[in-house]
Amino acid sequence: MLKYQFVFLLSTHFFLLVNLLSAQNTFTISGYISDAATGETLIGANVYNTEDQSQGATTNVYGFYSLTLPEGQYQLSATYLGYTDQLLDLNLTEDTKLPISLSQGVLMTEVTISAEEQEKDSNVESTQMGVVELQVANIKKLPALLGEVDILKTMQLLPGVLSSGEGNSGFYVRGGGPDQNLVLLDEAIVYNTGHLLGFFSVFNADVIKNTTLIKGGMPANYGGRLSSVVDVQMKEGNNKHYEAEGGIGLISSRLTFEGPLIKDKASFIVSGRRTYALDLAQPALKGGNFEGTNYYFYDLNAKVNYTVSDKDRIFLSGYFGRDVLVFSQPNRDFEFELPYGNRTATLRWNHLFNDKLFMNLSAIYNDYELQFNGGQADFKFGLLSGVRDYNLKMDFDYFPSPNHTIKYGANYTYHKLTPNTTSATNGETEFSSDFLPKYGQEVAFYIQDDFAIGKSLRINAGLRYSFFTQLGPYTSKLDGTVYESFDPVVTYDGLEPRLSMKYTVSPESSLKGAVTLTNQYIHLASNSSSTLPTDLWVPSTEIVAPQRAVQYALGYFRNFNNNVYESSIEVYYKDLRNQIDYADDQVPTLSEEDEDQFVFGIGRAYGAEFFLRKNKGDLTGWIGYTLSKTERSFTEIEDGRWYPAVYDRRNDLSVVGNYEISPRLEIGGAFIYGSGRFFTPAESFVFIENKLNILYAGRNTSKLPDYHRLDLSLTYKPKQKKEGKKFVSTWNLSIYNVYNRKNPFFIYYDPTIDEGTSSLQAYQVTIFPIIPSITWNFKWNQKPKA
C-alpha cells in the first residue's frame, strides 16, 4: 500500500513540474465570477477568448477561474446560463486579477456577438459526460407535490435517474442502488435525503445555489460511491444588502434571511422550514385516545463567509434537520417518540497560492441518527442507530494553461457506524443489545488533468487511490481476535482510474467516451421496496467486502441554434461487484447484526439515454428518454438466477416544460411515463395452523402496470404598482397527477377464509390521486433592482 502512495505522490509532483516548466512567457487572468446583485459566486461560469474559444476557463465550485494566455490583446467573454453575457477587452501584459460580475437576464450588453459566433457550451465542450446542472430558479417554476419544491424529485425527471417510488425523493441512477449515490451538501455527506419516509427531500430550495448531478464519468475528485454524485452547494448569502425570502404552503412554511455582515467582504444566510399539517390537527386530538400524537419535520440551514483577503476566504456552513413522530395513547399509558435526521457542518478555507493554484481545505462533520424512545407503563424501550463522519479534505485546482486544468488532493474520513443498539427496562430488569458501533477510516488521494491534444481532442484523465481500514474496538467473528481502539482489523484498497474524452466533430457537436472505476466502502441494504429511515449504513468489515463497479459510457452531443437547444445520446454499461442484499427469508430483527444477514452478488446495468433540452427563450424545458435494463445475481437467491433489480424500469420518459406567457404569468408542466416496477408475485397459497399464507414466485418476475402522470403549475406574479418594490410576492398553483391516474404505490394480498371458501386477492393501493396545492411565496429586498 505504501508503494502505491509513493508512486502516486511522485507522479503528482512530476506532473506539476512538467506543467510549470511549460507555462513560461505567459500571463494569467484570474478572479471570481459573481452575481452583480447579490455577490454570490457563480459555479461553472465560462470565460474565454472570443477569437479562439479553446482558450477558456470555467469557474470552480467556489466561483474562481484562472486563464493563462500569451501576452497580447484579447476580447474575453464571460457567460453563465440565465445571465447577460459580458465582453471584456483586455491588453494582457502582466498577471491580472479580473473579478467579473454578471447580471441576471438575457439582454446583451452594449457589444453584441455576431450570429456566426457560437457561445461556449459545456454540453458540447466539456470532457465530462452524464453531468447535468440544475438551477433552483428553474426548478421552482415546475409543478411540485403539495407545493413542496424538491430538487431531488426534479432530478428524477432526467434520463438515467429513476424515482424509488411514487412521490418519493429517493432515486436510482443507471441501475445503481440507493446507497450508491454520493449526496453532498457543501461537501458534507447527507446519508438520508428524505423527510416523511422520503416523500420530501431534506434540501430546502430557497437556500440552494447549485445542484450538479454526475451519473457517469465520475471525476477523480469524487469517490466513495459507485453510481452517481449529487453535489449541492448552499448559497453564501447576499454580501451587498439584506434580503428575505419565504413561502407559505399547504403543509409547510419557510423563511430565509440573508445579507452582508461586512459589505462585500462577509455575508450570512439562514433558512428554516417546518411542516405543520398535524400541528393543526392537535385541537381535534385533544381529549381523545391519541392526544399528543404528532408528526412534523424541520430543516435549518445556515452559512457565513468572510473574504479575509484577495487570497483567502473562509466559509462555515451547517444543516440540521429532524423528522419527529410522536405517538401517544394516554388512556393506555403508551407513548413513543421517533426522531431522526441529519446534521452537517462544513468549515472551508479557500486559499490562492498564486493566480494559477487554488486550494480548498475543508473540515467536515456529518451525522445521521435515528432514535426510538417509548414504552408502556413501566416498560421502556430505546433504540439508537446512525452514522457519523469526521472528514478532512484538501483539494487543489491548478490552471497552468488553457490546455490543462489539473486537480489533485487528499481526503481522510473517520467513520463511526452505530447499528441498532437497544436498551430496555421493564421496571426491575434492564437489558440491552451487545452490538457495538463499528469504526473505520477511509483515505483517498487523487489527481486528474483535463487537457487538450490539438484542437479536437480533449481528455480528462484521473487516478484515484483509496483505501479503507476497519478499526477497533472490535472482536473478530471469524477467529475471536480482540482489537482495541484504532487497531486495524482489515484493510481494503483499490486504484480507481477515471478517463473521459471528447472529440470535437464540429463547433456544435462532439463525441465523448468515459471509463470509470469506483469503489464503495460503506453500504446500505434495504429489504423494502423503497428506502426507509430505519435502513442501516454498514461499513466494509472482515465479512462485508467493498462494492466495486466499472462503467463504460459513450455519447454524442449536439447543440442547435446557437446553443438554444442541447441534445445528447448516451449509452452505458455498468458492471457491479460485491453487491449487497438480504436473503429471501430475511426478517428485520434486532437480534442479529445486518452484516450477518447480508448476501453478496453481482449486477449489470446497461441502457441508452436520449436528452433534448431548451435552455433559452419563453419556452424552456427538456425531453428525456431512457431505455435500460438492470439485473442482479446472488448465489443465495434462487441459485444465482439473474433477475431484474427493483431499479429496473425498461422505459422511462419525462417531458418537462416551462412557458412564460407574460412577465407575470408562467405555466409549467411535467409528463412522466415509466415501465411498471418489477415485483415478486404470489404463486400459491398454503394453509398452516388454519392460517392462509403465501408462497411467492421468483424474485421480481412480475411487473406492475406502467406508471404515468401529468403535473401542471401556474406561477402568477401580481401586478406591482411601481417597479423596484422592496416586497414582491408570487402565487404558485400546482396540480399533481392532473388526469387522476391511479398509479400503483404498492400491491398487497389479502388472504381470506370465509364461510366455505378461501381465496387470495391482490389489491393495488394508490396514494396520490389528483392533488392541487397552492403556495404563496414572497421576497423582500432591501435594495431592489429598479
Binding site: 430488569t429 400491491i747 394508490t766
Partner: protein, 315 residues
C-alpha cells in the same frame, strides 16, 4: 412479543395513510405458473400435556384459485406413508380421518380446528391426519426426530429436535396500563433465561376456547439472554380484536397457556411465517419467503418442549 424493527414503522404508515388520500382497488397480476407442492405440518412434543405426534399433509393452492369447502377438504393428502425415527426406532404413523368419527360435537370441534364447517362439505370428501396413537415415539427433551413421508413416488424428509424446556416461573395478572378497565387484565410471566441461545413460542385460548397464537407468537432471547426476566403475554387473536384491548384477558375467565421451547429451525419457520402474514398490507415490506424445513416439499416439522398452565384471570 418478538421485537421487530419494522413494527416501529407501522404507526408511521398509519399516520401516513391518514395524511394522504389513498385508495385501493382489486389488482389482477399476470398469471404466474405454479407447481403444486406438498405442505407438511407436523409436530412432536414433550412435557406435561404434550400432544401425541401428528402430521397433516396438504397441497399448495395456485394463486388464482378460489376454494370452496369441498375443494379445501380435497387439499388434504390421504394416501401418504408417514414414519418418524426417534433415534431408537422408526414408528409408522396411523391415518386418522374425520370420516372415522361418528357425527357429533367431537367431530364438529375437530373439523373446526381444521377450518371446516362440516355442513358445507360433501360426504365423499374426507380429511385425514397421521398420528402416533399409541405413543410409541419417545417424546422427550434433547432428542432428534426424523420424519419420512412417501406419497406415491414422492419423498419428503425433515428433522427436528425437542430442546430442553425453559419454563416460566410465575404468572401475574395486573391492571392494564393507562385508564383501568375492571373487566380486563394483563398477564405477566417471569422466566429465568439460561445463558445459551433459546427460542420460545406460546399459545393461549382464543375467544372460542381453542389454543391459538397472538399477532406474534415467538421470540428469541437475544434481548434478555441469561437474565431473570418479566414480560407480558398477549391473549391469542380473536375475531373482534381492537387496538384498545389487544392482548388483554377477560377477568374471571380460565385460560390455558401453552409455553414452548423450540429449536432454531422451528423458530425460523414461524418467524418468517408470521412476518410474511403480518407484513401484508404494508407498503414498506417486501415479500418474505417462509423458511420451511421439509425437503421435497414445504412446511414445518417442529419439536415443542411444552409447559401447559391453566390460569384464572383475576386482579
Amino acid at each position: 412479543m418478538n421485537t421487530q424493527l419494522s413494527t416501529i414503522m407501522y404507526p408511521i404508515c398509519a399516520l401516513l395513510i391518514l395524511m394522504i388520500i389513498g385508495c385501493e382497488e382489486e389488482f389482477n397480476p399476470p398469471i404466474t405458473a405454479s407447481a403444486e407442492q406438498y405442505v407438511v405440518e407436523g409436530y412432536v412434543e414433550a412435557g406435561e400435556g404434550a400432544n401425541p405426534t401428528y402430521v397433516l399433509i396438504t397441497r399448495s393452492v395456485p394463486f388464482f384459485d378460489e376454494l370452496n369447502a369441498d375443494e379445501f377438504a380435497s387439499l388434504f393428502v390421504n394416501n401418504a406413508d408417514v414414519a418418524v425415527d426417534d433415534g431408537d426406532k422408526v414408528v409408522q404413523l396411523s391415518k386418522f380421518c374425520l370420516g372415522d368419527i361418528p357425527d357429533g360435537p367431537i367431530k364438529d370441534e375437530l373439523a373446526e380446528q381444521f377450518g371446516l364447517d362440516l355442513t358445507t362439505v360433501s360426504d365423499d370428501v374426507d380429511i385425514c391426519v397421521y398420528v402416533d396413537f399409541n405413543n410409541q415415539i419417545i417424546q422427550e427433551e434433547g432428542r432428534s426426530y426424523d420424519l419420512t413421508i412417501r406419497i406415491e413416488d414422492d419423498l419428503l424428509t425433515a428433522t427436528t429436535t425437542i430442546p430442553k424446556l425453559v419454563a416460566l416461573d410465575s404468572f401475574m395478572f395486573e391492571e392494564i396500563p393507562g385508564v383501568p378497565v375492571d373487566s380486563l387484565a394483563q398477564l405477566f410471566c417471569r422466566i429465568a433465561d439460561p445463558s445459551d441461545a433459546n427460542y420460545y413460542r406460546y399459545f393461549t385460548d382464543d375467544d372460542a376456547g381453542n389454543l391459538n397464537t397472538a399477532f406474534s407468537s415467538i421470540t428469541d432471547d437475544v434481548q434478555f439472554n441469561g437474565q431473570d426476566f418479566r414480560f407480558p403475554i398477549a391473549q391469542a387473536d380473536n375475531d373482534d380484536v381492537s387496538f384498545e384491548d389487544y392482548g388483554f384477558f377477560n377477568v374471571g375467565d380460565t385460560v390455558t397457556l401453552k409455553w414452548c421451547t423450540i429449536d432454531k429451525e422451528h423458530y425460523d419457520f414461524w418467524n418468517t411465517f408470521e412476518y410474511s402474514l403480518n407484513g401484508q398490507g404494508s407498503p414498506f415490506t417486501s415479500y418474505t419467503r417462509i423458511a420451511g424445513n421439509v425437503d421435497g416439499g414445504f412446511g414445518i416439522w417442529g419439536g415443542y418442549s411444552v409447559q401447559l398452565e391453566e390460569l384464572i384471570v383475576a386482579k
